[in-house]
Assembly symmetry: C2
Homo-oligomer: 223 residues x 2
């Protein structure tokens, strides 16, 4: 039994405008479900690893070399209206929204949607987005994922709002800042915000080198 293999991309970004996690959806240009909002992706048509296929699809949709790409799950598509055996492998990608630069001729076909207010999605794209979100939540407990979704320099409160959006819980500002200041890999920069009509915030940055050292030193606790 032979399968056509598709790759679905769950492209995630954090929108500082409304403090929400967003997913990029495209309007399908072909049947089935033509015209509906759905996950970008396509068939694997090169003899290459799926992650390479996903990275290419992604570059086409976003115009950006992706920083973080991770497999979520492989799905057998059991939709009986499809006449072929299909399987799909889902990847989620993390993006700094500010770097999003779609090909100009595709702009009208792609749009960001809040994870909390998704439209109805065709096929099993809805559950796939949820699966990706959950994987991202788990990944963030052991890897520095927030920094792929934020600008290089960011205020601490933006980082807090990101965590609040990721886990959908409110966090205490003082405790959060105390926690972050204990992380050796989040460094204060000399820069401040400018042109804001309030007290300007200090900008912080992620240090990959410090993170590597920290990760190496940190032992797994068994339970």
């Amino acid at each position: 039994m032979l399968f056509k293999l598709a790759v679905d991309c769950i492209i995630l970004a954090y929108d500082p405008g409304d403090n929400q996690l967003k997913v990029l959806l495209v309007q399908r240009e072909n049947e089935p479900a033509k015209g509906q909002w759905a996950l970008p992706g396509g068939f694997v048509d090169e003899p290459e690893d799926f992650v390479v296929t996903a990275a290419r699809k992604l570059r086409q949709e976003t115009g950006v070399a992706v920083g973080y790409l991770e497999q979520v799950h492989a799905y057998a598509l059991t939709d009986p209206t499809r006449d072929q055996r299909l399987a799909s492998v889902a990847y989620y990608a993390l993006l700094d929204l500010a770097h999003y630069a779609p090909a100009a001729d595709r702009t009208h076909l792609a749009q960001w949607f809040s994870l909390t207010q998704l439209p109805g999605l065709p096929f099993d794209h809805g559950p796939k987005v949820q699966d990706a979100w959950q994987r991202l939540q788990e990944a963030a407990r052991s890897r520095p994922v927030p920094f792929y979704l934020l600008p290089q320099k960011f205020p601490l409160n933006q980082l807090q709002r990101f965590y609040e959006a990721l886990y959908q819980v409110p966090l205490d500002n003082r405790n959060f800042r105390k926690w972050v200041k204990g992380l050796p890999y989040v460094e204060a920069s000399a820069e401040m915000e400018t042109n804001v009509s309030r007290r300007p915030s200090k900008l912080y940055r992620f240090s990959a080198a410090a993170y590597e050292a920290f990760a190496k030193a940190t032992q797994l606790t068994p339970y």
Copy 2:
């Protein structure tokens, strides 16, 4: 481009004899790599979800209805000696070793190997086993996986030795017991070990109902 799709099963069990995690390998009956120890599995040849295929392969190899089956990863097989496009989806399965009952005509073809002393495996089966082990370690932090690998009634010290094998670290007996006794879903039974030439241990059991209640009540901590 069309693919043949295979399912690989990483069948894991805990051996109380030597306190080691074991994986079930089979001797390949066909080329390529005929005669070598490798992961059981096979091609997806029914229009069904992969997990169903995996469960069937598993039942054929172990004679047991599996308690726990989880997808690890989907792999594109890039081995150039293979003449077809192949992809495989790996699942790990958890088994109580005492229930392992292979079909009699297959016994000589299957054997348990310690995760820490694996033979050289063909294709990418070595990395797949490692990936599965790591996924199991992660799953055990948020789900009650140990109880799929232990007998229904077990002494606490066996549970401790399981954790030591899973994470490859020694644990302090008093702290471990204190921790377990704080878990509402591990209950003491009235039974004791018998016929052991030492102080008999009390047997404990896992309560799925208590676990559900506990899991519902436990909030996620965000970071």
